[in-house]
Subunit: 135 residues, 2 copies
């Protein structure tokens, strides 16, 4: 069965990627989840629950997560204009700046791997992964 090989390759490479992200996060005192939160919020402003859905976490897990990032001035809570119960979360300028640094770091850290592909292969890989991810 070829499905096995695909799953195996996917899982293996995913672990590799997570390892890189974990290291980059650790160097900046961010957990994997926080890193992901930042990645999500780069171009969005979301309510707590929406964020929890993105992450696949319980909403109660969000409070502390956001608290800690907020305390560091990287993230802020704001009122939601449409629903007084809801709380919007978004990156502060400092958070955005940090995220941009981390993106660059991520690119650099993965470069040894991604550089092994030529332009055509890169495009192919992106296409295949996008099919995998579905639209």
């Amino acid at each position: 069965m070829t499905s096995d090989a695909v799953v195996e390759a996917l899982v293996r490479s995913s672990w590799r990627v997570m390892g890189v992200l974990t290291r980059i996060g650790a160097e900046n005192d961010l957990s994997l989840t926080q890193l992901r939160v930042f990645g999500i919020l780069v171009d969005r402003r979301l309510r707590m629950t929406e964020l929890a859905d993105y992450l696949g976490l319980d909403k109660s897990s969000m409070s502390g997560l956001v608290d800690r990032a907020e305390r560091r001035g990287l993230l802020a809570r704001g009122k939601n204009p449409d629903d007084r119960r809801a709380v919007d979360v978004y990156l502060t300028p400092a958070g955005l700046a940090l995220m941009e640094r981390l993106l660059e770091e991520g690119r650099r850290a993965l470069a040894p791997a991604t550089d092994r592909l030529d332009a055509k292969q890169s495009a192919q890989l992106v296409d295949l992964l996008e099919i995998l991810l579905g639209e």
Copy 2:
């Protein structure tokens, strides 16, 4: 720069894969890390420190990890014949059986995604990821 697109696709798909693994783990009371330990030990018997190296964790993190799995009878500690300080870790038959179930579950869970690729694309993806992972 096309490197951006590759990194983005890789990170996105890795998160997807991790989500699936997290769910499967949670359904069986296993953390992501434990799941990975099992995956590593399927065809190996390792010392604590070697395992820690595979996982990129501190050796002190291993004790508790192995403890908990051992308490559930999924994993066992054994003496290392060459070094009396060292402790070998390996899957018990129960652990191996569990892991086989989980592998099958993983394949099934990822099938909706992997099925979107035909045989040729699958082979291509595996090739590309293997290049990425290095030899």
